[in-house]
């Protein structure tokens, strides 16, 4: 990367729920075009932080810029520039493949002509042309996840947030999914991803590991493994979270 640009800039992010501190002075940045892995045990505060970055909830304090916009004052602008996909919710099961694509494209204000051509390209690329009129409920999970990801980046957002995108899918589809993520970064999209599969942490450019509301480690996978004298990211994670 020649010019490193921070697409997400977080400084002293604090989020409190009553007396409970879910995020304790988080400070980090995400560079444009990188795959940023956001790891942590259940309840470490990942989801809370991610919701704030997506403009879904306000932080208690801290300075946070996402895609050049302030999360306090410019949430609507942020929402236009990001894509979101999670394992739990992404597509409407009772709409067809094509209807889902058009729905999301419409939400992000794409023009009709634009939608038509891009939909064609997308279905072609995914090999889903023959099943465009099938209901989402009828297609296999692996296909759903791939489609959901494609829909999340259909409006060419600056950043896409992926919340455990590969839960429960078979090992081959999981890898194909990650290859799609790599392709997306080549188009200049920044990827912010959480996962419970530690081997997937290795696919990230940089990884942060949260423990009890704080970021305990943040670096490239290689550097983390060296720092914690571990063979793989799983060991790094265990060493950190078990402390």
């Amino acid at each position: 990367m020649v010019q490193q640009e921070h697409i997400i800039e977080v400084k002293d992010l604090v989020k409190k729920f009553g007396s409970f501190t879910a995020n304790d002075r988080l400070s980090f940045h995400v560079e444009k075009g990188e795959i940023f892995g956001f790891l942590g045990a259940n309840g470490a505060g990942k989801t809370t932080a991610m919701r704030i970055l997506c403009g879904l909830s306000y932080p208690s304090s801290g300075e946070i810029m996402v895609a050049g916009h302030d999360v306090y004052r410019e949430r609507e602008k942020i929402k236009k520039k990001i894509g979101y996909m999670s394992q739990k919710f992404s597509l409407y099961e009772d709409l067809t493949v094509s209807e889902n694509i058009r729905l999301y494209a419409g939400i992000y204000g794409l023009r009709k002509k634009q939608i038509a051509t891009r939909e064609e390209q997308l279905l072609e690329r995914l090999g889903m042309l023959q099943i465009r009129d099938r209901f989402i409920s009828e297609i296999p999970l692996g296909w759903k996840q791939k489609l959901a990801f494609s829909v999340a980046i259909f409006h060419q957002p600056a950043i896409v947030f992926l919340d455990e995108p590969t839960g429960g899918v078979d090992p081959i589809t999981r890898r194909q999914f990650w290859e799609m993520i790599h392709d997306a970064t080549e188009e200049g999209i920044t990827v912010f991803v959480t996962t419970h599969y530690m081997d997937e942490a290795e696919y990230c450019d940089r990884v942060s590991i949260m423990v009890e509301g704080r970021i305990e480690a943040l670096d490239t996978p290689a550097a983390l493994k060296q720092q914690f004298e571990s063979e793989n990211m799983n060991e790094v994670f265990l060493k950190l979270a078990r402390k």
Partner: protein
């Protein structure tokens, strides 16, 4: 044999959920079922737990038929369904006491069996189950499934959605339970966990792909699998490797690339390709396939192969 699954079929409408599933589990074995969501794992568990009736084939638990002798079966099994079957509005100890009573026993009677598991959550025994973290819920659910000292323990995806730390602890507990002589069947979508089992059945789309022992390599396997690693990252090399004549398939594997060759001779072509890159940090070596490698290999032979090849990314 603790458990015999004898050519079981089960369909839901047009969907064939289980297709001639056939295997046996030995006494005291820790037996794994791996496969992605929708492979049919939960259906198989429900048949073993006497909750579903197979269309064809037989399933016996300690000699009791799950259809005819379901009453007996229900006495000797401990079952933990896919979703943690806890009452979220009851406290930790209330949940445990309730399940103990349902099985006509008390918490104290079998406390020695659950001690290792329960002591980890005992400090929170007054807390409502709904307020526990995923890892703690899972430990409580396991305690509840064990409280009546079952002979066969059936755990359907106990580690799904649980973080890596809790998962590791959970498997350590399963090893401990195994020492008590309880036969355990456990399913998981995480391939790395399968390595902890004595034997593993791989299931894909209702079909049994293979049963293997993670600690032993399959005898017929020639050294066709290579692992490739580079400080620069291996993703950049993926396309070139795949375009090789000798490459059967290649996939990312953590920070490595796992390449399966068509023939042993293919290694020559690969060496030439790798040397042409002039990357001094590249290391590559033949490796023994892990469960995940085997699963992926079998998947590509199986019905999924047409599908995956069709899906050009």
């Amino acid at each position: 044999m603790s458990l015999i699954i004898d050519h079981i079929d089960k369909s839901f409408g047009a969907l064939k959920a289980l297709d001639q599933i056939d295997f046996e589990v030995r006494d005291g074995e820790l037996f794994g079922l791996i496969g992605p969501d929708g492979a049919g794992k939960s259906t198989l568990f429900r048949i073993m737990a006497s909750l579903l009736i197979p269309e064809a084939g037989r399933c016996t638990m300690h000699g009791y038929d799950v259809v005819k002798d379901y009453r007996e079966v229900r006495k000797i099994i401990g079952y933990m369904p896919g979703r943690f079957s806890l009452y979220m509005d009851l406290t930790v100890e209330e949940n445990l006491a309730f399940y103990a009573r349902v099985f006509g026993t008390t918490v104290t009677e079998n406390y020695d069996l659950i001690r290792d598991v329960y002591e980890q959550i005992a400090p929170f025994k007054k807390r409502l189950a709904g307020k526990l973290s995923g890892g703690m819920k899972q430990k409580l659910a396991l305690s509840c499934a064990l409280i009546h000292r079952p002979q066969i323990l059936l755990l359907d995806e106990p580690t799904t959605g649980v973080d890596a730390v809790s998962r590791r602890e959970f498997w350590e507990m399963l090893k401990g339970i195994q020492k008590q002589g309880i036969c355990t069947v456990v399913s998981t979508p995480y391939m790395d966990e399968a390595e902890m089992c004595d034997r593993v059945a791989m299931i894909q789309k209702g079909k049994l792909l293979d049963i293997s022992d993670p600690s032993r390599p399959a005898p017929e396997e020639a050294p066709l699998l290579y692992s490739l690693k580079s400080n620069k990252g291996v993703y950049a090399y993926l396309d070139q490797i795949r375009n090789m004549e000798a490459c059967k398939h290649a996939w990312l594997f953590g920070d490595q690339l796992h390449v399966t060759l068509r023939t042993e001779e293919g290694a020559v072509e690969m060496r030439a390709l790798i040397e042409s890159w002039g990357d001094p940090s590249i290391t590559w070596k033949a490796i023994r396939p892990s469960i995940e490698d085997r699963f992926m290999g079998l998947m590509e032979h199986g019905s999924e192969s047409q599908l995956t090849n069709g899906e050009q990314i």
